[in-house]
């Protein structure tokens, strides 16, 4: 499924200078992305979220990005002016954050926020924008779109809030979606329902997707390919289907330290961290 190359990343570095000196969150990440679903998995501090943010140039103020190549189709993402970034963000690349409780503006209605996303890139009048917004809310399976359109973020549940988030981010019809732990704040069943909606929309609209998560099983059952990250580096790239033949000890360690429902109460195998993983090159 990778006919045309959408995104190409070579040797991406993201560093921050904090009170306690400079720290490197991402230390040389490279990958290509076609019209497919790429999973990026890692524990906290692995740099997975920072990789996603760097692609959209949203690294924090005290951070700096360095890459040999950061190409989205014909656009070089490395040194875009703020005006050029505004043409890319939302319209061509978009992002879904983790918790709607924080990522929606609390004093603006859901409808206004969706319309704002649409009218930023499509010059239409308010009535047309509202019609599109309601249509979008229906496409994310919201039962009563008119009510949700008028309500405030604190009046909708977690699952509903994330559906709103997807609607808002997909309304300008971007080509690439970066989902940064989109369902970690939700209960298991709601989580799967939201991911099913994302699954259908991405497939119908033929979009590319980068799915960032700490949950290896979830990612491998949802994406085509998986990148496993550890301490800012990609330690393994593997097709989701043959995850069980993973080579790298860290990936295997992550897989079997998960508790299983096989009824035996023996101690879980513990991950022995090896300093070499931090420097070893991708085999």
């Amino acid at each position: 499924m990778t006919q045309d190359l959408i995104l190409s990343v070579r040797n991406l570095h993201v560093g921050f200078n904090t009170a306690k000196g400079a720290i490197e969150a991402v230390r040389g990440v490279s990958f290509d992305l076609g019209r497919e679903r790429l999973g990026i998995v890692g524990e906290s501090g692995s740099g997975k979220s920072q990789t996603g943010r760097a692609i959209l140039g949203l690294t924090a103020a005290n951070g700096h990005i360095r890459a040999d190549r950061l190409q989205f189709h014909d656009t070089d993402l490395r040194n875009l002016s703020p005006r050029d970034w505004r043409k890319v963000r939302g319209a061509r690349i978009s992002m879904i954050m983790q918790d709607p409780k924080y990522s929606l503006n609390p004093v603006m209605t859901v409808g206004d926020q969706i319309i704002e996303a649409y009218r930023e890139h499509f010059k239409v009048n308010n009535r047309e924008a509202k019609r599109r917004a309601i249509e979008m809310l229906e496409s994310v399976k919201i039962r009563d779109p008119e009510l949700v359109f008028k309500s405030y973020p604190h009046e909708v549940s977690g699952g509903m809030g994330q559906r709103v988030m997807i609607a808002m981010m997909l309304i300008p019809e971007p080509e690439l979606i970066i989902a940064d732990e989109p369902t970690s704040a939700l209960d298991v069943t709601v989580q799967l329902q939201v991911m099913a909606i994302l699954d259908d929309l991405v497939r119908e609209r033929g979009m590319a997707l980068i799915f960032i998560s700490h949950d290896l099983h979830l990612v491998s059952s949802f994406c085509d390919r998986v990148l496993v990250m550890y301490q800012g580096r990609v330690v393994e790239e593997i097709a989701a289907s043959n995850l069980d033949q993973a080579q790298h000890p860290y990936t295997r360690g992550l897989l079997n330290c998960l508790p299983k429902m096989d009824g035996n109460h023996a101690d879980l195998p513990v991950l022995a961290r090896d300093a070499a993983w931090e420097t070893q090159d991708l085999t």
Partner: protein, 355 residues
């Protein structure tokens, strides 16, 4: 240990006083009444803990004992304290704050005459304070750590540390005595004063109602210096608070969402961040307006501005308890009103607080 089933269900159910949406409004009014009652109680107690004997002040110290006793009886000072308090409260509720020794007119009339002057001063100062304070706060927050931030911070700190009476004197000396850019003390030039019969009591508006433009500009040139000195105070406070609220909001995730939507930085600052900052800022503005009433006492003395502050201070020097307490109650009531207003505005502005 007892083994019978312990049924708490009805045993300790605590009914919530006035629960529900209506409840929160009733509770607000209820607490308002108690606070006003407290205000009256404290002023009554201050009035009664009096080294200066009000009777002597009224009859003079050479009056014969019989006259002294008669007046004391009339003033009801022999009644038990709580009865005096009851009379005190009922009088005030009917607007009877007693007579002013200074002007020998009912204190309430005096207050009605002087209060608009203070109100006008405080309002103009707040308008300047808000108009300049908010943009400065936003400007400093957006350029955190760079020179605009330090400039605004120093400007605010100096404003916060300046003794207002000294600043007033210096202002008068420089802008009035030396440069003559601005008119001197008082609300209007001396000979204009009796041209205006106060409809609203706000000089700027009364002169406009009269349609007398040069009178209006004269009033403006009188108010501009004291108002801007007071404004410097509220400006420093509003700018500092706006800055810290903005910094807090700019760190929130919905700002990142707005950037992902491709929205311009200015729109993010002025619509998204400031939209959220207005909610707590309303309380800050209300508080700073109330504080101006206090600041105006000194400013009025220096600019001989015929406001409530000057009235209270002058009557204080004449040991005129009625006037002092009347003024204190009015200012206290305004304080309480402003706090109530900011509570109500807070609920209106923040959808999360609206039931």
């Amino acid at each position: 240990m007892f083994s019978v089933l312990r049924s708490n269900r009805d045993g300790r159910k605590r009914a919530r006083l006035f629960s529900g949406t209506g409840g929160s409004f009733i509770r607000l009014v209820f607490s308002l009444i108690i606070t006003l009652f407290g205000l009256l109680l404290v002023t009554f107690l201050i009035g009664r803990v009096l080294p200066i004997d009000p009777v002597l002040a009224a009859v003079g110290d050479r009056a014969p004992q019989a006259v002294y006793d008669r007046v004391r009886e009339e003033m009801g000072l022999n009644l038990p304290l709580w009865q005096q308090f009851y009379i005190y409260v009922s009088n005030i509720l009917q607007g009877d704050f007693g007579r002013s020794v200074l002007t020998s007119r009912p204190v309430l009339d005096d207050i009605k005459r002087v209060f608009p002057a203070t109100l006008e001063l405080a309002t103009v100062a707040t308008i300047i304070g808000v108009a300049l304070g908010i943009p400065m706060g936003v400007f400093a927050a957006v350029h955190k750590g760079k020179w605009p931030d330090h400039l605004v911070r120093i400007f605010g700190l100096v404003g916060y540390s300046m003794p207002i009476f000294w600043l007033g004197l210096m202002g008068l000396m420089i802008f009035y005595m030396k440069l003559g850019w601005v008119a001197g003390p008082g609300r209007l030039d001396a000979f204009y004063v009796d041209f205006i019969e106060p409809t609203t009591g706000l000089m700027l508006i009364d002169t406009l109602i009269e349609g007398d433009m040069d009178l209006f500009w004269n009033a403006v040139s009188h108010i501009i210096l004291p108002a801007s000195i007071l404004a410097y105070f509220s400006l420093a406070y509003i700018a500092r608070m706006t800055r810290s609220f903005m910094l807090e909001q700019l760190g929130q995730e919905y700002i990142l969402t707005a950037r992902v939507k491709g929205i311009s930085e200015t729109r993010i600052i002025w619509r998204h961040a400031l939209g959220n900052v207005m909610v707590p800022l309303v309380t800050v503005i209300a508080l700073s307006y109330a504080n101006l009433l206090e600041g105006s006492v000194l400013t009025e003395i220096i600019f001989s501005w015929p406001g409530l502050g000057q009235y209270i201070t002058n009557s204080l020097l004449k040991a005129d308890m009625n006037a002092v307490l009347g003024g204190t109650i009015v200012v206290g009531a305004v304080f309480i009103g402003v706090n109530l207003l900011s509570d109500v505005l807070y609920r209106l502005l923040d959808p999360r607080a609206r039931r």
